[in-house]
Amino acid sequence: MNAHPPAGSPSRPAASDPWLATGELLRLAKDGDARAREELLTRYLPRLQSWAEGRLPMYARSLLDTADVVQDTLLRVLEGIDRIELRRPDGFRAYVRQAVLNRIRDEVRWAARRPGPDGVPESLSDPSPSPLENAIGADLIERYERGLARLDEDDRQLLHLRIELDFDYQEIAEMTGRNSRDAVRMAIRRALERLADAMDHEGPGAVP
């Protein structure tokens, strides 16, 4: 009486199966499977958009559609997927995070340089912070980002999925090909400890 095929069916994986691990989807996408690309998009896009909105300055948000920025970035990543050399198949997530952050920075710089209607660059009149900066403070976010940058891709990905995108342990286990939610929880605890180590070394006002 089950209306859906059971998860983990032994038959050949279909790209539309949402329980394929990210690595498997990436392999299918690299082989040109359009449905795998679509699945990657639907899996990440909504949460990435929420996340990115928190990191876009208010004035830039009025000029850019965050959803478009994120979707466009993700599509570009997927289009170039056959050129990405990933050390681990599940490194995709960290790559996307960086790509979206870079794109936001580019867009913000572009928006800041673009003159307003009266020819005055808007950045001079409205240097508003992002919602995240508003809530936490730009210096502390910088410290967090520098700490993250010192971690390996695996740790960065786990923290991004759990801390920033709010995926649950089971989802992360399935996305990263780990055995169990307990294994993920343990791995995240260690990643957090290494992040705290890295941030301790940064310290308040430390030079990157």
């Binding site: 998860a7 929420s50 995240l132 995108l165």
Partner: protein
């Protein structure tokens, strides 16, 4: 007693799990201040990010799809689960979808869901399936429209004793089915019982049902709803059939008293109040029969050994009590004096045989989208000289009883009536080519099936004691291809001679089945067996109780037909 943990590990787990962080404990445990500061930053970023993510998810009506189901409306939300009204394109009907966060669910939930999905009972919500999709476990089930007992009593006041007694029998028999499936419900309470449009009570939530053997393993987990939780569970005893019996007794106390049994601001107060027990019901209401009060008092005895040993014993006690007060039930009799019954020599109509072991599957959508909403009413009538009485789920029938089905739909409908007895024999009772009344039945008129043959009124006759009779009434705005295909395989009607009883003797047929004989049918019209069909299982998976649907409408009606 707790196990000593590294305070840093506790901090890290709290941040990761999204729980409140005890920073002072971290400092007292010797975690260095710079480390605490770094983790505070991470914790604040985590709180901020999660808040935004959840707000974004909550601001919409949730994901638009879950698997194949189209989410229409969020109708409820708790700490660990959300409930949606959803459209199932496979079943072509609205369903209720309970989505549970995996972290709250644990690995046992899928097994639990599958066990629940095996339960088929008129007073237990029909679970169509359980699956894991999009990071959540979902349980999709019939969408029961109606008010919970909690809302009902709050808005309309306490129930009449006769209504409460019927509620006790209905939910008690539901509990028998739950326990029979190896589950302990653990969460019987007024909010989890829904009264549908026809006044029937349905046990409609399974949030905490656990297989009985696992319940024992979690015996110190007081995860039942405390107000209705049995006293022994406050001191760590395992949930059991007897603790469910207690909760049902207390639910009846609520229904009759019109208020919750205890008032307590804290868990300790509640525990003390439960220990004292609620006030005797007859101190609150003199019109409650002594026998009914006695059944409830026994169900909520503090000592589990003094309660009914199981739900079945409680149901039997309530049934006996109701039978001894038949006057309360007479209002259900509905006179249909105009109907003249002509019962001639009986012939056996044995149409549908299939094995009970066939596993249910989902029926391919029998109607194209988008279907219009329509409503159907269907109930069995017991026909006797000069009139008819309406039967409700759980009523008893006996050999010799003559049954008809009254059906009314708000649009033209193809109607099919299937029957299965406890021995697993299945029959198609309607339509048959020789009946005067044929599909589709017209809109907005009452039809009494099987209706006449050559102008003579008919009824289905209960021919032997079969234990329990399951009827499925299927209505559809279009012909249902699966059933029509089986009908097409029937041999052409014969107008003379004897068709016999296919490959089994009449004695065997009589022993195996209860209903199946048709009054007023000449023997030469008797049908041989047709190839096996799984339609019964498939449609039973769809059986709902709502009166308004799109697409296929299915109602299961169960009548008791006990063997002597």
């Amino acid at each position: 007693m707790s196990i000593d943990r590294d305070p840093l590990d506790s901090l890290l787990d709290s941040i990761s799990d999204g729980n409140p962080v005890d920073w002072e404990a971290g400092e007292r445990g010797g975690t260095k201040r710079p480390r605490i500061e770094s983790l505070r930053i991470v914790s604040r970023i985590a709180d901020f990010s999660r808040g935004r993510q959840r707000a974004a998810r909550d601001s919409t009506r949730g994901p638009e799809r879950w698997g194949d189901l189209l989410l229409l409306e969020r109708v409820g939300a708790g700490a660990h689960a959300e409930v949606y009204r959803a459209w199932d394109p496979g079943l072509q009907r609205e369903v209720a979808l309970k989505l549970i966060r995996l972290e709250a669910a644990g690995a046992a939930l899928l097994d639990e869901g599958r066990a629940i999905a095996r339960i088929r009972h008129p007073h237990v919500v029909t679970v169509h399936g359980v699956d894991r999709r999009d990071g959540r476990v979902g349980l999709w089930m019939e969408f029961v429209r109606g008010a919970s007992l909690e809302q009902d009593v709050r808005t309309r006041g306490a129930l009449e004793p006769a209504v409460a007694a019927r509620l006790g029998v209905e939910i008690g028999s539901a509990l028998v089915a739950v326990h029979g499936a190896g589950l302990i419900h653990r969460d019987i309470k007024p909010a989890n019982v829904v009264r549908d449009a026809e006044g029937r009570h349905v046990l409609a939530d399974f949030g905490l049902g656990l297989p009985a053997d696992q319940a024992a393993a979690r015996e110190t987990d007081p995860s039942g709803t405390p107000m209705y939780m049995a006293p022994e569970r406050f001191s760590g005893a395992a949930a059991s059939e007897r603790s469910d019996v207690y909760s049902l007794g207390l639910l009846l106390w609520f229904a009759l008293a019109g208020r919750h049994p205890f008032e307590a601001a804290t868990f300790a107060d509640l525990k003390a109040a439960v220990e004292r027990g609620p006030r005797p019901l007859r101190e609150l209401r003199q019109d409650i029969p002594v026998e009914l009060a006695a059944v409830i008092e026994r169900a909520i005895a503090k000592d589990p050994a003094e309660r009914f040993p199981d739900a079945r014993a409680m149901v039997e006690a309530m049934r006996r009590m109701r039978e001894e007060a038949p006057a309360r039930r007479s209002s259900r009799a509905i006179a249909l004096a105009a109907v003249v019954l002509v019962v001639l020599a009986t012939a056996t109509l044995m149409v549908w045989r299939a094995r009970r072991t066939a596993s249910p599957e989902v029926v391919p959508a029998p109607t194209p989208a988008p279907p219009a909403t329509y409503s159907v009413e269907a109930s069995f009538l017991r026909r006797d000289e000069g009139g008819a009485s309406r039967l409700v789920n759980g009523d008893r029938v006996k050999p010799g009883d003559r049954l008809s089905l009254e059906v009314r739909a708000t649009r033209p409908a193809w109607v099919y009536v299937l029957n299965e007895d406890e021995g697993g024999e299945r029959y198609l009772l309607y339509p048959q080519p020789q009946f005067d009344t044929q599909n589709p039945l017209g809109a907005d008129s009452s039809f009494v099936l099987p209706g006449p043959v050559a102008g003579r009124e008919n009824a289905w006759t209960v021919s032997s004691a079969g234990g329990r009779e399951y009827f499925l009434v299927v209505a559809s705005p279009e012909p249902v291809p699966e059933i029509e295909a089986d009908l097409a395989r029937l041999p052409a009607p014969r107008t003379s001679g004897s068709a016999g009883y296919a490959s089994v003797s009449e004695a065997t047929v009589r022993r195996l089945r209860g209903v199946g004989e048709i009054g007023a049918l000449p023997e030469e019209l008797a049908r041989p067996a047709v190839p096996r069909s799984r339609a019964f299982d498939r449609f039973r998976a769809l059986a709902g109780r709502e009166s308004e649907v799109r697409g296929v409408w299915v109602r299961q009606i169960v009548l008791e037909n006990p063997r002597k």
